[in-house]
């Protein structure tokens, strides 16, 4: 990392400023508390938004959303994910969302690309 002008740049040891938690133990606690808060809120969500969902379905979806980020190890990323989850929880709990927003969690947003010949043909792709 030396510049062309010849000035000596000491390679600084970069330490990232923590977002919320200082240690991974701290971050782990935040994640588990977020899970707890969502878990406790689920029956009220079902009742207030009148969604056609059952409690086991919601619990499975909650677990799926947490499992999606299981491999993340960077503490700052975990903090940001927890913050976003907390924002979603607050919006859902205060009824600032509508029924469709809650059902969005259960909708697949990416249409899977067709893999077989007929699928690709109907899509207009060259084989």
């Amino acid at each position: 990392m030396s510049s062309a002008g010849g000035t000596l740049i000491r390679q600084a040891v970069k330490e990232a400023k923590p977002v919320f938690s200082a240690t991974s133990e701290d971050a782990r606690r935040r994640v588990l508390n977020l899970y707890r808060a969502w878990f406790r809120q689920l029956p009220y969500i079902i009742r207030e938004y009148d969604v056609p969902l059952t409690l086991p379905m919601c619990r499975r979806k909650l677990r799926e959303n947490f499992e999606k980020y299981r491999q993340v190890n960077d503490i700052r990323v975990i903090d940001l994910l927890v913050a976003k989850g907390q924002m979603e929880l607050v919006e859902t709990a205060h009824m600032w969302k509508q029924k469709t927003h809650v059902m969005d969690y259960f909708k697949q947003t990416v249409t899977p690309k067709p893999t077989d010949f007929l699928g690709k043909f109907f899509d207009g792709k060259e084989p």
């Binding site: 782990r28 588990l32 508390n33 899970y35 707890r36 406790r40 677990r63």
Partner: protein, 104 residues
């Protein structure tokens, strides 16, 4: 169809012993709650079985289980204590201390 969990909370204005709480009753209630938890197979479950190592629960399952116990007994278990409760015997000991029941 999810199992309806047995809810047996009562207010304890008097001391634990006069309210009919004993270590055996606590043990029975804790084991019932754990057995109702569908991710645990009842054959492998003993009082000393470790949740994560022997029964194969992960940390989120552990959280759900402790929440079921909180709901059964009616009070919240703080995080620092919750991390240490890894076996049913730990839970029973912790509850006995919290509810001032003699633990043998």
């Amino acid at each position: 169809q999810h199992a309806i969990q047995r809810c047996s909370q009562w207010r304890c204005y008097a001391s634990a012993s006069s309210a009919g709480l004993s270590q055996d009753k606590i043990t029975e209630r804790v084991m019932t709650v754990i057995k109702l938890f569908e991710k645990i197979s009842a054959e492998k479950l003993t009082i000393e079985s470790h949740f994560m190592k022997e029964l194969g629960l992960d940390s989120l399952d552990h959280v759900e289980l402790l929440m079921a116990i909180e709901d059964e007994f009616g009070f919240e278990i703080p995080d620092q204590d919750a991390e240490k409760l890894n076996k049913p015997s730990d839970i029973i000991k912790y509850l006995c201390e919290k509810m001032e029941v003699d633990y043998k």
